[in-house]
């Protein structure tokens, strides 16, 4: 607005000392009313005061604060058509520009406006939501102590204002939800605005209004994670030579890792060179860290189980069906690690349920079993009994399938079956030791498995050769099976047949929870994945906010041989 503000508006000069609150309110009311009679002078002054935002002198700050308070007292005199310039000036104000007193007065005004008339509700909520993010010039200051202080000031006021509005307008949260979702920065806003916006969303989720809107907000956050996730191409991750095989390093005894020295964080970061400079990866990293912190706070407040149900639902809807999600699934992994007995098992059960349901589409079932296999292999926080019960379920299903189907190898027709067999072998590659030592498990699990593997459908020939080879090597070492035919794969990672059952989606090579990292960092990564948050170990993954480098988000996903 081109309005030139008088240096010392007359109304301000003596009001500081001589006027009472109600006199100022009536003064403002008069100014508002005078517009209707065509006299815009004092009204324009009022609007001018609102446009004052930067480098305010103390008396200007006082004027602004008084004016805002007076306006809050005179909201019923504000008319949406006659005072639109005033309203738009108010709605353009950013709390980030002002100190606590002005921010308080502004928040009070917004609350009064929102509850005074239904017409202002959306505008006021929109204004508060726009305060989620600071003005662009402030983004750099966010990390500084002064910036953090300001951030705390603004966010606490914004969220307190939501609460107040909801107290007086019970349906406001529903409208807020729409506004928050619509206002969410898209993935093309590659600045940090989205990080602080998501922080605010999570704050809403954990607040009182969260009861009403939390579920949808959490799902929107996961959706955004997925969107960022798919923006990062597999080629960006898989530049290194992965022909080394997926098992070599993983099968080393990890017991001694606990004693090993502090991991070198610096080195760890450097080795992420292939993703360095990728702004989307950085954003995703930050968002994942935020989400993990949020999950931890949920766990502390004892409401993880409720939040987990939402996550589970959103996982089913978005993550599971996203083509080879690379990072977003670690949100689930992290939540499971926080509460292995409940959430951890709930996740595994849901995946197994999806796999055995005939009514589910084939890609969903295969994807689910891939997740399950990878989860059972990597989640060191799971009890052996849980893993064996899940495996038993898979083996039983496969056995039943074998009994019902009589035919030769047909990768395409029996793709779900093959993906199940591969999942079992994959888990056993990691967990063989657990089963070999317990005779009961051996008879319950490994004998039916032998039947399955020796069936005419011949899963050993169809499944991913690298998995089969490793499985057979270990089985032989543990003298479990005697396979009459010798399988010679010559170190092949995949075969025509495995490609055929994997389909276009290449679900045969999808191991979602595999950390995709270099040799050196692998041990470190594995360590992080393998220790439950309940353990007091130093390596509690992501457990400490001051060590963000330890978040699993830093781990690159599966070494899918597909890239070869």
């Amino acid at each position: 607005m081109g309005l030139e503000l008088p240096k010392y508006p007359e109304m301000e000069e003596d009001q500081v000392f001589n006027f009472t609150d109600s006199e100022i309110v009536s003064h403002v009311k008069q100014a508002l009313a005078s517009v209707l009679s065509g006299d815009n002078n004092s009204y324009n002054q009022l609007v001018g005061v609102m446009h004052h935002s930067k480098h305010l002198a103390p008396d200007e700050v006082a004027l602004l604060e008084t004016t805002l308070k007076a306006l809050a007292g005179a909201v019923s005199s504000i008319d949406i058509t006659h005072h639109d310039s005033l309203l738009s000036a108010i709605f353009c104000m950013s709390m980030w520009n002002y100190g606590p007193h002005v921010a308080d007065a502004l928040a009070e005004l917004i609350v009064s406006l929102a509850i005074s008339n239904g017409k202002y509700l959306d505008l006021c909520l929109g204004m508060l939501v726009s305060n989620f993010t600071p003005p662009p010039y402030f983004l750099d200051k966010l990390k500084m102590p002064h910036g953090l202080e300001r951030k705390g000031q603004v966010l606490s006021r914004v969220h307190a204002a939501f609460k107040k509005i909801a107290d007086y307008v019970p349906l406001a949260p529903l409208r807020l939800l729409t506004i928050v979702l619509q206002g969410m920065p898209t993935i093309y806003h590659k600045d940090r605005a989205i990080v602080i916006y998501v922080e605010n969303m999570l704050k809403l989720e954990s607040g009182e209004i969260g009861e009403l809107v939390g579920c949808t907000i959490l799902m929107a956050v996961v959706d955004r994670l997925i969107e960022l996730d798919v923006e990062i191409g597999w080629d960006a991750i898989l530049q290194d030579d992965f022909s080394k095989g997926i098992f070599e390093m993983e099968l080393e005894d990890v017991d001694d890792i606990e004693e090993s020295a502090e991991p070198d964080v610096g080195e760890f970061r450097l080795s992420r060179k292939s993703l360095a400079g990728n702004s989307i990866a950085e954003l995703l990293d930050n968002l994942l860290v935020l989400t993990f912190e949020h999950l931890e706070s949920c766990e502390r407040e004892g409401r993880l189980a409720k939040v987990f149900e939402t996550l589970l639902q959103s996982f089913r809807v978005t993550v599971l069906s996203a083509y080879k999600s690379k990072f977003a699934q670690f949100v689930m992994f992290y939540a499971c690690a926080l509460d292995p007995e409940n959430c951890g098992m709930r996740f595994a059960t849901m995946l197994a349920d999806l796999f055995v349901q005939d009514s589910q589409p084939q890609p969903t079932r295969m994807s689910a079993v891939s997740y399950l296999a990878s989860y059972l292999s990597r989640a060191k926080f799971l009890a052996a009994s849980s893993i064996s019960s899940m495996l038993k379920r898979l083996v039983d299903w496969c056995l039943e399938y074998c009994e019902a189907h009589d035919g030769d190898i047909n990768p395409n027709a029996h793709r779900v079956f093959y993906s199940g067999c591969q999942a079992i072998m994959y888990v056993l590659c990691f967990r063989m030791k657990v089963f070999v030592d317990v005779p009961r498990l051996k008879s319950e699990l490994l004998i039916p498995l032998e039947q399955v593997l020796k069936h005419k459908l011949n899963p050993l020939k169809v499944c991913l050769p690298s998995v089969v080879e490793e499985f057979l090597r270990q089985a032989k070492a543990a003298s479990l099976f005697t396979v009459c035919k010798t399988f010679i794969f010559d170190g092949l990672l995949e075969s025509e047949l495995s490609r055929a059952f994997g389909g276009l989606e290449r679900l045969d090579t999808f191991f979602p929870f595999d950390p995709c990292v270099d040799m050196d960092e692998f041990d470190y990564a594995l360590k992080k994945m393998s220790i439950t948050p309940k353990a007091t170990s130093n390596y509690k993954f992501g457990g400490r906010f001051q060590e963000p480098a330890r978040m699993p988000s830093r781990i690159r996903p599966s070494t899918s041989p597909e890239s070869l």
Binding site: I115, N117, L121, Y168, P170, L171
Partner: protein
């Protein structure tokens, strides 16, 4: 309280074939999505429903629509405030400027100073803000009071009501009810003749409880909505 009504509705709901696996659940979900929103067909806000599915088999619509239609019989509880209806709500905020009320726990209403009759005077008593009647000391409105007020307008999108406390039969429900009882006892004994006067004279002065007051206890009317 007025504005609430029960309606018997004959509805036809169109469901996507993907919902065919669990029809009753998707019907409930569909009806649930209508809750707490103003619906023009119902001419009101749907507050509750009880549904009966009539068809055992659904018809698939011919033509481009793959949807199938289901006939339902539903019992709907509707909230449709119209100007000059009497509503009741709880005061949640009070200032010299206005009284904020929540009706039925979900709809917010505001009564601004110019819609509050002169009888009520704004006062603060031990930091508590209240509106007290000048002529009846006991008639007080403060935060937490249940009040009865007239509807001036209703914003259908936000479900926001603008109300008024101008007419004499509005104010604190507790006070009005007690007053009404006293009045009726009074009426029965000696004031039968004034009774008729009141009926004739609609402009009631402060303190007198108009006879039109029993309006508010009107039984919920039944309506039929056919779609």
């Amino acid at each position: 309280m007025e504005g609430l009504s029960v309606a018997d509705a004959n509805l036809v709901m169109y469901l996507h074939p993907s919902k065919s696996r669990n029809v009753s659940q998707s019907i409930l979900r569909e009806l649930g999505s209508l809750l707490f929103k103003f619906n023009e067909t119902f001419d009101g806000v749907l507050l509750a429903y009880d549904v009966n599915i009539l068809d055992k088999q659904a018809k698939i619509l011919s033509g481009v629509h793959p949807y199938f239609g289901l006939r339902l019989k539903a019992n709907l509880l509707l909230f449709s405030p119209k100007p000059d209806m009497l509503l009741e709500g709880k005061v949640v905020k009070l200032s010299q400027e206005s009284i904020h009320v929540i009706v039925l726990g979900f709809s917010s209403a505001i009564i601004t100073a110019e819609n509050i009759r002169g009888e009520f005077k704004y006062r603060t008593k031990d930091t508590e803000e209240l509106f007290a009647s000048k002529s009846h000391k006991r008639h007080v409105i403060k935060v937490g009071t249940m009040i009865r007020f007239l509807v001036k307008s209703f914003d259908e999108e936000i479900l926001h009501i603008i109300g008024s406390l101008i007419s004499a039969h509005t104010g604190s429900i507790r006070w009005l009810d007690r007053h009404l009882e006293e009045d009726s006892e009074f009426d029965r004994s000696s004031m039968k003749s004034r009774d008729r006067e009141w009926l004739g004279d609609k402009t009631v002065d402060e303190g007198a409880t108009p006879m039109s007051y029993d309006n508010h206890i009107k039984m919920s009317k039944k309506r039929r909505i056919t779609e």
